[in-house]
């Protein structure tokens, strides 16, 4: 296989890793929605903590994106 083709395939496969954070953020959102449903007055602190946790989960997806960007745009001749 041509090395450029392998590079591009690798970039595509690297983004499969974004499934995990997607599911994780969904679980976080579900927990936050249930908490707000139980106690609508605590909406402020719940939303703040949810955003903080989502940033942690999203960072992993960003790592996959960095690998994909490096493979597709930088590495290789």
């Amino acid at each position: 296989m041509d090395i450029d083709a392998a590079r591009m395939l690798g970039a595509g496969i690297a983004m499969i890793g974004a499934i995990g954070p997607g599911i994780g953020i969904g679980i976080l959102g579900r927990g936050a929605m249930e908490a707000i449903g139980r106690n609508p007055e605590a909406r402020g602190p719940i939303a703040t903590n949810m955003i903080l946790s989502i940033a942690f989960a999203e960072a992993v997806a960003i790592y996959c994106l960095i690998v994909a960007i490096i493979l597709s745009m930088v590495a290789g001749s």
Binding site: L52, A59, I62, I66, I69
Partner: protein
């Protein structure tokens, strides 16, 4: 659905489609040239000056101008720029107080607020229209993605680039934050208590004491727990060091991905495609600044909290 609603929906859809077609035909965008590393503009005494460095200097100058002009001749009843500056300061201080508690906040607040304002300033300044087109280029004839061609200014060596899309920007901030919270921890709770967060030798000590008393039944259990404690302490230390990497890549990845996304969407759907993604970029700039500064604050609090207190 009444007839009025259906009419409004149809008018809306036709307007959006029309805007897309107008954009494709009359406002084409030249193909974006995306690069991971920042491009060097010039050299000062052998030190390379990249376009992101120039953008970060502009951010610093703008932030200094806003805050110095806002705090000159301060009045008891603030008006105008002083009002805005006080609002920014107070919102950040309230947020920091919630996360860090009343006594710790005066110590941790300057770093937290500076990181937040620097990151959000760098992100928002790069969103000013025309920011990416300042540079060395020429009037050229270019064709857009699907249709339409135009003769206009195409920049080939941009002089300015989004400051946080260079990996050195978040890396420097993360290293400063790490040095700061380690320094505060050693100042506030002493070297022994701080290193006891990672090196937990109590169970090993228990094991030796039990052995010296001749109790050979429960000694191996204590040694095993001691070994587990050492391993856990090492992992804790490693995770503290990984915070630097994770902070860096979170900010860098979000900002770079946002910049690339905006460039490519504006190439594919000119003139109107940029509107929702521009708003997304502004939101992400704010959220990532808050996350970076907030995590710095939280890790400072964790590092300076002695255990078993």
């Amino acid at each position: 659905m009444r007839a009025g609603d259906i009419l409004k929906a149809i008018v809306g859809i036709v307007a959006v489609l029309g805007a897309v077609i107008v954009g494709l035909l009359y406002f084409p965008v030249p193909k974006p040239h995306v690069e991971l590393g920042a491009e060097q503009v010039c050299q000062i005494a052998g030190f390379p000056i990249t376009n992101t460095l120039i953008a970060s200097w502009i951010t610093i100058v703008v932030l200094l101008a806003i805050f110095i002009l806002g705090t000159r001749r301060m009045k008891m009843m603030p008006t105008g720029l002083q009002n805005v500056v006080e609002w920014i300061y107070e919102s950040l201080y309230n947020f920091a107080e919630e996360a860090a508690g009343k006594e710790n906040t005066p110590k941790f607040f300057p770093l937290f607020a500076t990181i937040f304002l620097y990151v959000i300033g760098a992100a928002f300044i790069s969103l000013i229209p025309g920011f990416d087109t300042i540079g060395d280029g020429a009037r050229e004839h270019f064709t857009g993605a699907f249709a339409g061609s135009y003769t206009g200014w195409v920049v080939h060596e941009p002089l300015l680039r989004k400051a946080s899309s260079d990996i050195n920007f978040p890396l420097a901030l993360a290293l400063i934050a790490f040095a700061s919270w380690t320094y505060w921890a050693i100042r506030m709770i002493g070297v022994r208590k701080y290193s006891r967060q990672f090196i937990k030798l109590e169970n090993l000590g228990e094991g030796f004491k039990l052995m010296s008393r001749g109790d050979f039944k429960s000694a191996p259990m204590a040694f095993f727990m001691g070994g587990v404690d050492i391993f856990v302490g090492f992992l804790e230390f490693l995770s503290r060091c990984i915070q630097i990497v994770s902070l860096t890549f979170r900010l860098f990845g979000n900002m770079l991905a946002g910049a690339i996304l905006l460039l490519i969407i504006l190439y594919l759907i000119p003139w109107i495609g940029g509107v929702p993604f521009y708003g997304l970029e502004a939101l992400f700039g704010f959220v990532q600044a808050l996350i970076f500064a907030g995590l710095t604050l939280v890790f400072s609090v964790i590092a300076t909290t002695a255990e078993h207190e």
